[in-house]
Amino acid sequence: MRLITHNMLKCHVRGCDDSSKNFPLEIQDAQLEQIEAEKNDAFLVRMFPRLEWNALVSTAKNLSINNLPEKIPENIEEDQALLEILHTVLLETNVKEGRMVCRGCGHIYAIKNSVPNMLLAEHEI
């Protein structure tokens, strides 16, 4: 699971409605790997406005990735250094194994072989 994907995953347990806690899911016990991907600035520039920036920054920090600016950057298309960072953080950092924990209800979503498991039992949903 790349961080660009983690940025779209929210806890969906029934009744877990506190939006300050059900997103982002906290990544724990992460086994990270770097995937080499071709840099694609046009893609990053297009996806940038669709990102939940604060969630990305806090998640990255949790994984000891500290080079993202706190404030939503502007004019990223002209900022080669930032595009480089975004490329590495969003598309090349892969959580191979680990888990995502909801800070609201405590539900644990496993990540196995790079695939986040968002399935819930019938009574949880």
């Binding site: 994907t5 779209m8 929210k10 997103f23 893609f43 996806m47 669709r50 695939v115 498991n117 968002m118």
Partner: protein
């Protein structure tokens, strides 16, 4: 890339060993996948350089076809871990895993009346994050699965900023066209596939440019 070329590249995609009836899995053939994705790109420019979601991606035939047609990034969502495992092997074989992501998830949940509902909480943060959605959803013909085809369409409408390419049973045609109109989409039958039940549809938002296409001969 030529259509024939795309179809032939897709021949090596491994499909379900044993399709599961509960998920109404049926393989998307290279023939089918190449026609959908080729048309989506060459008639509508909805694949190359786009961010795509493949709902009920199964073994990834549409995901792989999209990446071969130079989609930027494809996110496949499927409920079945066995299918996902085959998809991962496929992505490795084609050396395209760097541009694909897989999420194991169920788009639906049951209501207290045992009706299928869209799990909007699951999809909340994916709202309009994708340029295009491609899919070969379950038909909803299995008892207890009624309406799953429309639920997949509802999910696609929620996720896609632009077009949706989807396969459906011919018998649901009028209903689908009517429902999509209600959702603000125009809907077009792109091809009727003679060897199979499904029909291929294209959905565009009403306010986007609408193009009339001819049916693809097959």
């Amino acid at each position: 890339m030529k259509l024939k070329q795309l179809e032939s590249y897709l021949q090596n995609v491994e499909n379900f060993d044993e399709p599961k009836i509960e998920f109404e899995q049926y393989p998307t053939t290279p023939h089918l996948a190449s026609r959908i994705i080729y048309t989506a790109e060459n008639v509508f420019q909805d694949i190359q350089g786009k961010t795509i979601a493949d709902l009920g991606c199964g073994c990834g035939m549409l995901t792989i076809a999209s990446l071969l047609m130079e989609a930027d990034f494809v996110t496949g969502i499927d409920i079945d871990k066995d299918a996902i495992e085959i998809l991962q092997n496929n992505l490795d074989e084609y050396e395209i895993s760097e541009s694909a992501e897989i999420i194991c998830a169920n788009l639906s949940k049951s209501s207290s009346k045992k009706e299928l509902l869209l799990d909007t909480n699951l999809l909340d943060k994916m709202h309009k994050k994708f340029d295009t959605v491609v899919m070969n959803p379950p038909f909803g013909t299995k008892p207890g699965n009624a309406g799953i085809d429309m639920l997949f369409l509802e999910a696609a409408v929620y996720l896609s900023k632009g077009a949706i390419y989807s396969l459906h049973k011919s018998s649901t045609r009028d209903y689908i066209i009517k429902t999509c109109k209600k959702w603000g989409y125009s809907c077009e039958v792109l091809a009727q596939l003679k060897f199979d039940i499904p029909k291929m549809y294209n959905f565009h938002k009403k306010n986007s440019v609408d193009i009339n296409v001819d049916l693809i001969p097959n």
